[in-house]
Symmetry: C2
Subunit: 199 residues, 2 copies
Amino acid sequence: MNKKQMQSEQTKKRVAEAARSLFALKGYKATSIEDIVAATGSSKGNIYYHFKSKEGLFLYLFDEWDREWEENWEKKQWQYQTMKEKLFGMAEQLALEDLNHPLNRAAEEFFHMEEKSNDVEERIKAIYQNHFQFFETFIQRGIDQGEFKHVNAKHLAIGLESMFVGLSQMSRAASSEDVGKLYQSAVQAFLFGIAIDSD
Amino acid sequence: MNKKQMQSEQTKKRVAEAARSLFALKGYKATSIEDIVAATGSSKGNIYYHFKSKEGLFLYLFDEWDREWEENWEKKQWQYQTMKEKLFGMAEQLALEDLNHPLNRAAEEFFHMEEKSNDVEERIKAIYQNHFQFFETFIQRGIDQGEFKHVNAKHLAIGLESMFVGLSQMSRAASSEDVGKLYQSAVQAFLFGIAIDSD
DNA sequence: TTTTATACTGAACGTTCATTCTGTATCATA
DNA sequence: TATGATACAGAATGAACGTTCAGTATAAAA
């Protein structure tokens, strides 16, 4: 790799990292390109040389996060034996890691914005579909291994994703609660139910 | 009531209804005061005479919705006997009524905006607390009546709210699915669990 | 050394928008 | 009828910000 290419790559990283900090601190909308300029010393034009748009820059950061999450999970999941244990473990990772991830708040804001370019909208849908697929495979494995009932894996995959997405949002409003316990009892309910007559 | 007061009230209603339609159509941020001016024939100044701000106008509409929801639920819940049935009934009302409510999308956007005035932030927190309280009472009743296990009602109230909030959001991404079924299986899981070994 | 592609600059553009403010019309009240 | 309050009009304010573009510097390629 060239000296020039290396510098270019470094610049891109510097911009990305500054952007991540700013998005974390101020939120997506409230972080202006000007803010990133001030934080990096790079010029506006240069930022647009490295990233297609503000949306593109954010999506770049989000992808990094998503990739890292899956890597961490792959490393971690082997310590658990059953699918039930895995699910509790996943809840733990989500509660501890995700909630404290710098992009957490900004991502929520970003995903709920109404003014998005069409390609971004498509990307977001694809991300969700990916998560659904992940959980569907997970649940299906539980069924195949005789741990889970013969439920509709597709529906309950969405149910699981819903629960975790919602949990992540509610954890902020219900601040005084112990978040770990919250996630744990939610998963407990999802696995074993809260009703007494188990039919 | 005066003729003047009546006209004033009508104007306020006209503005509110136009705003609701526009928020539903274009989203919160994308709906400008100018849009509402164009739709009502009222002037900007007049809108600000009747409502404190754009945020205030939206919150006014949201309150109406919240009130109506509780009224509808109060009417409906008596047709169900057990708490389990009630929960399924609630899921139905949420799936059918809420998802089609004009403000649904805009409210999501509004609640996830990062730039909010402090009093609005407080209001939103209060709204959530209210929902938590509602579910906590609900679950506690189930426990007292011997229908539910001795779970932590506080935690699971948040869990329920999380699930429904998440479900409402996911229902858009997973459009092709039958939303009613989706809610139903989520509640089914929450009540009876998906695991086979019910401990 | 000349040429060319890449990396970078920053001023200018174009647009959007919530809110305020000064003034006016209308109706209730005294 | 005179006075005061209420309801309404709409121009002006004032700021914010993403994106583009014409031009410059730097280093690789020829």
